[in-house]
């Protein structure tokens, strides 16, 4: 498999009140073209920082070290942005054009005072060079692709008129509008209820397969990640503890921490906890 992105020794440090807080400590991994890679971890593991670093979205105050080498097909990618340190400057991809990003909370990632159709059309206009008319036609096709009912109505709807799940579908439509090579979903289903979450996961699975996108799926839920990913990377306290094929992670985890995450999962067939129903049964 060919790598799309190679990360070497990535370090990210935030400054808070003058104190350096390391968020990522020397993470190295490869993202292969066309794979579905899940990055899982608990709060403070650095999983979101990793997603933001890959997308080039880290806040200005963050210090970045290490290398990120992109292997984008010719024609794609732009010159590195000025604010990227030189170590990272190869050909950083453009967000929106080469990378689609779906955030956790669609209510805050969508503009509340702009019809959703326009928000999607803008992406298409900016990155595909379409006129407004063609961009709107594209937006409508995208709304159909993310299986929203009545795309003609939704095109002119405002975010507050949609449910949480519908908003996330719109956010996904905007993220894939320019046919990016890489789709990053950062806890994209965590704010949704179980049923909607399952729908969004299957939508992402379908879109990624149809377009041949590479998927980076950031989640705190190992079971959800396993249902979608080819490989799973486990982060803890800013370090990569384990990276492997999904089957290997589930059946033969090498690291005790991965094992504890698996054991902590409560499935539908979960045994009652020791003090639970045993008392009354």
């Amino acid at each position: 498999m060919t790598a799309l992105l190679s990360i070497r020794d990535l370090k990210v440090t935030y400054r808070r009140d003058g104190v350096a807080v390391p968020a990522l400590k020397s993470v190295s991994l490869e993202v292969f073209a066309g794979e579905r890679l899940a990055i899982i971890g608990e709060s403070g593991s650095g999983k979101s920082t990793l997603a933001l670093a890959i997308a080039g979205l880290l806040a200005g105050g963050a210090e970045i070290g290490g290398r990120m080498d992109w292997f984008l097909p010719a024609g794609a990618g732009a010159k590195a942005k000025d604010r990227q340190p030189s170590a990272l400057a190869t050909s950083h991809p453009r967000l929106g054009r080469d990378i689609g990003f779906v955030f956790q909370d669609p209510s805050s990632s969508l503009d509340p005072v702009m019809p959703v159709g326009k928000q999607i059309a803008e992406v298409a206009r900016t990155h595909l060079g379409l006129g407004w008319k063609a961009a709107y036609a594209k937006a409508k096709t995208l709304l159909e692709r993310v299986r929203l009912p009545n795309p003609d109505t939704i095109l002119h709807a405002y975010p507050h008129q949609l449910s949480g799940g519908q908003k996330q579908r719109v956010a996904i439509a905007a993220a894939i509008a320019a046919a990016p090579k890489l789709l990053i979903a950062d806890e994209a289903t965590s704010a949704l209820d179980t049923i909607v979450q399952a729908e969004i996961v299957s939508l992402i699975r379908r879109l990624v397969a149809e377009d041949g996108m590479t998927l980076l799926f950031i989640s705190h839920d190992i079971a959800l990640a396993a249902s979608l990913a080819d490989r799973i990377a486990v982060l803890r306290h800013g370090e990569l503890v384990e990276l492997g094929q999904t089957d290997q992670i589930l059946e033969a985890p090498r690291h005790a921490y991965t094992r504890s995450l698996l054991d902590a999962h409560l499935g539908l067939d979960a045994k009652p906890l020791p003090n639970g129903q045993g008392a009354s049964a």
């Binding site: 608990e42 709060s43 949480g164 949704l192 209820d193 179980t194 049923i195 909607v196 979450q197 399952a198 729908e199 705190h220 839920d221 190992i222 079971a223 959800l224 396993a226 249902s227 089957d247 589930l250 059946e251 504890s260 995450l261 698996l262 902590a264 999962h265 409560l266 499935g267 539908l268 067939d269 979960a270 045994k271 009652p272 906890l273 020791p274 003090n275 639970g276 129903q277 008392a279 009354s280």
Partner: protein, 258 residues
């Protein structure tokens, strides 16, 4: 006799100009030392029910009997006194406390308000409460925002048990926690239930958690009961459409897949 009996409870809201029923003709009971889970998709009325039972909002119709008395008939000082027996733990432990508070103050309030301990005695009671929920007594002087999420949820539980309640409403109380912490908090809740015979109204969207801790489950859909029964039996073999959808949607860890 049941500890809490809710009958024909209804609450309507207005969405724009048209009314919709958040909770519609709902009845259920909870027995002492029992865990009843409420499950359902978002908008099914789970949190509205929690707030109605706690009298944080008032129902449009229906009856709530708690510890053998008409809970809706209480008001003012009588209601505040009764609240000692009916407590709540919120989803987000950071939002559930005054941002300026310290751990000691959070635990001091219920002891003071319900005259459970004299001023001189309270520091000792606070230390005992902290130890009861598995925290070090020295944590008392810390500010709420300084401690970890798991510690905060333990403090929330300590506050809830400070007044020796017979029922605690847990509104998605473990949903925001990391899985490693979640297990410990669930163990703590079950231990408290066994020792103090506390009943729980356990609101959760996570059927895995429900099957691990609940005795019975009520599955809600659009403010009505879709089905109810023994938690593990319902989850193993759901009958209602929404029950089936919830079970199908739950993420599974297929650890022995081909």
């Amino acid at each position: 006799m049941s500890l809490l009996a809710v009958s024909n409870l209804a609450k309507r809201y207005h969405r724009g100009s048209k009314p919709f029923a958040a909770v519609d003709d709902l009845s259920f009971e909870i027995n002492p030392a029992e865990t009843l889970a409420l499950a359902g998709p978002s908008g099914s009325g789970k949190s509205t029910i929690a707030r109605l039972v706690l009298r944080l909002i008032e129902p449009d119709a229906g009856r709530i009997d708690f510890e053998g008395g008409d809970f809706l008939a209480l008001s003012g000082a009588a209601l505040r006194a009764r609240r000692a027996r009916l407590q709540m733990v919120f989803q987000d432990p950071l939002a559930a406390f005054n941002p300026r508070a310290t751990v000691a103050r959070v635990l001091d309030d219920p002891l003071r308000i319900h005259n459970i301990a004299s001023r001189a005695e309270r520091p000792r009671r606070i230390a005992a409460l902290l130890e009861r929920v598995g925290l070090d007594a020295s944590l008392a002087t810390r500010a709420i925002h300084e401690i970890s999420g798991g510690q905060r949820q333990r403090v929330a539980i300590a506050r809830a048990i400070a007044t020796k309640p017979s029922l605690i409403v847990l509104d998605e109380a473990v949903s925001a926690l990391d899985v490693s912490v979640r297990g410990q908090i669930l163990e703590l809740l079950l231990d408290l239930q066994r020792q103090e015979r506390i009943a729980y109204l356990f609101i959760s969207h996570d059927l895995g958690v429900i099957s691990a801790v609940a005795h019975r489950v009520v599955i809600l859909d659009a403010g009505r009961i879709a089905e109810s029964g023994d938690a593990r039996a319902v989850i193993a073999n759901p009958q209602s459409a929404i029950g089936k959808a919830l079970v199908d949607a739950a993420p599974r860890l297929n650890r022995n897949r081909p």
